[in-house]
Amino acid sequence: MNQAKNPKTILVVDDDADYLTQQQVQLEAAGYRVLTAEGEKQAEAVLAEKSFDLAVVDLMMENQDGGFTLCYHIKKKSASIPVIVVSGVVSETGLEFDAATEEERSWIKADAFLAKPVRFEQLLKEVKRLLKESS
């Protein structure tokens, strides 16, 4: 609502329908246009047909590394689109996401990593930072 004119479009990809709805509701309330995809396939379709300014991608989709592949494809389409990777790895496996995948980060090419459960304020802060909007 704070940017009624020319809102930026965000693609949110997650296989959890509830999480997807919640991100959509909150991002729309924050004034963004939101595209949603319930998994890698739908996201690839959105990627082929529509344009967006930023993507929020869940790492744990139907294929274990579906999020990685998707990130790669987004960056291939346009390297300038910021990608935020969200992952439940920490809470699901107890593995430290940071240290364990420092190497992976270097080749995933995501612009930010967030561990689930993600607080919306946290996500919004990253979105604004990557879209170079003042908060």
């Binding site: 296989d15 959890d16 329908a17 509830d18 999480y19 709805t21 919640q22 509701v25 909150q26 309330a29 319930e38 998994g39 396939k41 739908q42 139907e62 809470s91 699901e92 689930k116 459960p117 919306f120």
Partner: protein, 383 residues
């Protein structure tokens, strides 16, 4: 073939040699335990040397002479029962007085072997000792496996409970932040979803209760003559509202009663699970067919749907706990992932089987075969 490591501590070389010889090519058969063992014999001349060998690499059985130069057998025994409480010690003694026997037993000796002994006496002692060893090892292993299974179950359960809680929390945060403004109706879909997730948790808790009742054996099973047709009809009646909402037709292909001797609530769990699934995983406008057949000693319950089906790989995992087939088609269908594992447990209790035939996008047929007349299994089979 198990290999049992046996250490002989005796200061008489002849004694050690005769033990080694007697056991060299000896295979001990334990038919009751379905086990064959061979012995690997190591020797020590003094208690000190024996203790050193034990510290380096503990044997399974220790043959320990009572009377040794230097440290006595009893003293060595005391040290061993402190450091190696699981090591089975057979005391070898020429002067088996009652007092020494009592002392040695108090200090943890498993048995005695009187000197001199024949190879047969030695083997008999070792048979008894090995049986004890094998049994206690198996008990320990079983306990460890049970613990492992329980841990796994709990960690998966925690995950399964976290998912709906996280979703509900997310919706409540939106509500609490008034993200959609002050018009409450705007929040209706979110409240609706929250309620659905809560319903899912209730279902999971109900399934868990069923599961623990069945597994703990605490539930008294009441065997009586019951009519499976009537139970199937009741299950179909329960799902009727959801089925008609989605224009799914329900068909029960049996008019006459199908009598079996079984526990009513268990049969209800089986048929409810299968019939609920057949509606849940169906397509709008599809059908559910329930066939009940009597084939002499056995009955066959068959529940078919025209739903989303599954691949062979998915079907193979289906009856395990917390397995839910996760794909784009099942994404919005709620389930605990426990229902079919419960069905499998119950059918097993009736010496029965449950199987599935399925094709993706065409549907699935679940078949349960049960003995018509089951008796409650004698209690205490599983200790």
């Amino acid at each position: 073939m198990e290999s049992i490591r046996c250490l002989v501590v005796d200061d008489e070389p002849g004694m050690r040699l005769s033990v080694a010889r007697a056991l060299r090519d000896y295979t001990l058969r334990l038919p009751d335990l379905d086990e064959e063992v061979r012995f690997q014999v190591d020797q020590a001349e003094t208690a000190e040397e024996g203790l050193e060998k034990i510290a380096q690499s503990p044997p399974d059985i220790l043959l320990l002479d009572l009377k040794l130069p230097g440290m006595s057998g009893l003293e060595a025994l005391e040290r061993i029962s402190e450091s190696q409480p699981d090591l089975l010690v057979v005391m070898i003694t020429a002067y088996a007085s009652i007092e020494t026997a009592v002392t040695a037993t108090k200090r943890g000796a498993f048995d005695f072997l009187a000197k001199p002994f024949t190879p047969k006496e030695l083997k008999d002692k070792l048979r008894k000792t090995t049986e004890h060893l094998t049994l206690s090892r198996r008990a320990r292993q079983l306990a460890a496996e049970k613990r492992q299974v329980r841990f796994q179950f709990i960690s998966v359960l925690a995950h399964e409970l976290k998912a709906p809680l996280g979703a509900i929390e997310g919706y409540l945060n939106i509500l609490s932040d008034r993200t959609l403004g002050n018009d409450l109706t705007a929040y209706d879909p979110l409240v609706g979803r929250s309620l659905t997730r809560i319903a899912g948790m209730w279902k999971m808790i109900a399934d868990l209760t069923d599961l623990t009742r069945i597994e703990s054996g605490q539930k008294t099973r009441e065997f009586a003559q019951i009519d499976l047709r009537e139970i199937a009809q009741a299950a179909l009646d329960t799902v009727l509202p959801e089925a008609s909402n989605r224009t799914i037709t329900l068909n029960l292909h049996r008019d006459e009663a199908l009598l079996v001797t079984a526990d009513r609530s268990e049969m209800e769990i089986v048929l409810n699970n299968l019939i609920t699934n057949a509606v849940k995983y169906n397509k709008d406008g599809g059908r559910v067919d329930v066939h009940l057949a009597d084939s002499g000693d056995e009955v066959t319950l068959q529940v078919s749907d025209t739903g989303i089906g599954m691949t062979r790989e998915e079907a193979e995992k289906l009856f395990k706990e917390f397995v839910r087939i996760k794909n784009s088609k099942t994404m919005n269908i709620l389930g605990s992932g426990l229902g079919l594992s419960i069905v499998k447990k119950i059918t097993a209790m009736y010496d029965g089987t449950v199987s599935v035939e399925s094709k993706p996008d065409e549907g699935s047929t679940f078949t349960v075969r049960l003995k018509k007349h089951s008796e409650p299994a004698s209690e205490g089979n599983e200790s």
